[in-house]
């Protein structure tokens, strides 16, 4: 019974969301507000069980007092609610922004820059493809030059660069189209073969 009720709730909410494609309407508004509420509640409970308990409560109970620091930072964050000492929340924010900057500085430099440069410079110019690849990377980079006006030779190269970027955009667009349909097929599959058969008339559809 719980399963059939569940299937009905799921199916109706699915249809409510699809109704947005026609136009905004009370059904979509209902689903939208429910979705925002339920998902905010979901992540709230998720953080509680999977972050606060294992990463703060348990370590503190076991006597790992280093974990007082994040606790204090967290409370600093909440100080925003008290106007007079609200400024202290910036300390916690400063920590997060600093940490994020340091982390991304390293990871992007390694995985985006060095790894890609390395992959490109180990090419031998012995095939049309490799020549094209190198030209594409170089002109693409020229497009991103900010401190030089794009005219003359530089302008031509930048133009060629944007062409490469456009081909890249078209190709990845075309590539992902397929994946996008799987999701829709999944939803339709649910509606047709799992939900409809709960109505006696459509029982024959069950798979």
């Amino acid at each position: 019974m719980g399963q059939i009720a569940g299937a009905w709730v799921a199916a109706l909410l699915t249809l409510f969301i699809f109704s947005f494609l026609y136009k905004d309407n009370p059904f979509y508004k209902f689903a939208e507000h429910l979705f925002v509420g339920v998902s905010a509640g979901y992540w709230f409970a998720y953080y509680y069980h999977n972050v606060v308990i294992p990463n703060l409560y348990n370590p503190l109970r076991q006597g790992h007092f280093l974990y007082i620091i994040p606790g204090v930072l967290g409370i600093m964050m909440l100080m925003r609610l008290v106007p007079k000492v609200g400024w202290i929340s910036r300390w916690a924010l400063a920590f997060i922004i600093g940490m994020g900057s340091g982390y991304f500085l390293i990871t992007y430099l390694q995985t985006n820059a060095l790894a890609q440069v390395e992959a490109t410079m180990s090419l031998r110019l012995n095939s049309v493809n490799n020549v094209l690849l190198v030209i594409g990377v170089l002109t693409g980079l020229i497009y991103f030059f900010f401190s030089k006006e794009h005219k003359g030779v530089l302008g031509g190269a930048a133009k060629l660069g944007i062409w490469f970027l456009m081909i890249a955009f078209g190709a990845s667009f075309g590539y992902t189209v397929m994946a996008r349909f799987s999701l829709l097929i999944g939803r339709m599959h649910f509606l047709i073969f799992q939900w409809l058969p709960t109505i006696p008339f459509f029982r024959g559809l069950a798979r």
Binding site: A10, L13, S39, G41, V52, A171, Y175
Partner: protein, 206 residues
Amino acid sequence: MKRQAPLIITFLAGFAMILGYFIPHEPFGSLQQILNTWYMVVAAFAMILGVGNLVKLHSAKIRRRSPGFGYSYVLLAGLAAMALFGITRGIEPGTVFYWMWWNMHVPMSSTMFSLLAFFVASASYRAFRARNVEAALLLIAGILVMIGRVPLGDMIWSRFPDVADWIMNVPNAAGQRAILIGIALGVVSTSLRLLLGIERTYLTGD
């Protein structure tokens, strides 16, 4: 002090992350991991601010009887049910939280995601037009890759998959690499501006 302290904290936190990358010896080796755990805890605390804000706005809507305030009840009910059941009764299979997650959150999430299929169709109908050279290149690359990736394309001309692969592996790879390298430099320079306190708008104010 009020102004300087955040800048110093930003710098120290960033520097610690960088040290942790180069020095395997403890305590530096696990710095990245430790600081990341701290961040998660702060984010969890901040969640109280976010959810508090959501509750505040929607209860104000209900109080003021602003248009559509009925939906605010729906939102608050969903929020309260998920959060309270989740925290007091657990989130394992068999709980109310789990039932709501599986029958409400999951279907709405995947339906919202699946809307993409429709939007991909309408966007490509509108945007894939050979208005100029750039748009034409986008269009041609897009179509060739699309055709090359389904059995239908293979049936039309057996070399379509090869053409699609070539586009993916040569011009696409070149363009992507240029984008990635550019992004890396943008990130490096933005991070440095933040760590050195040159970009400090996020900390200004009294």
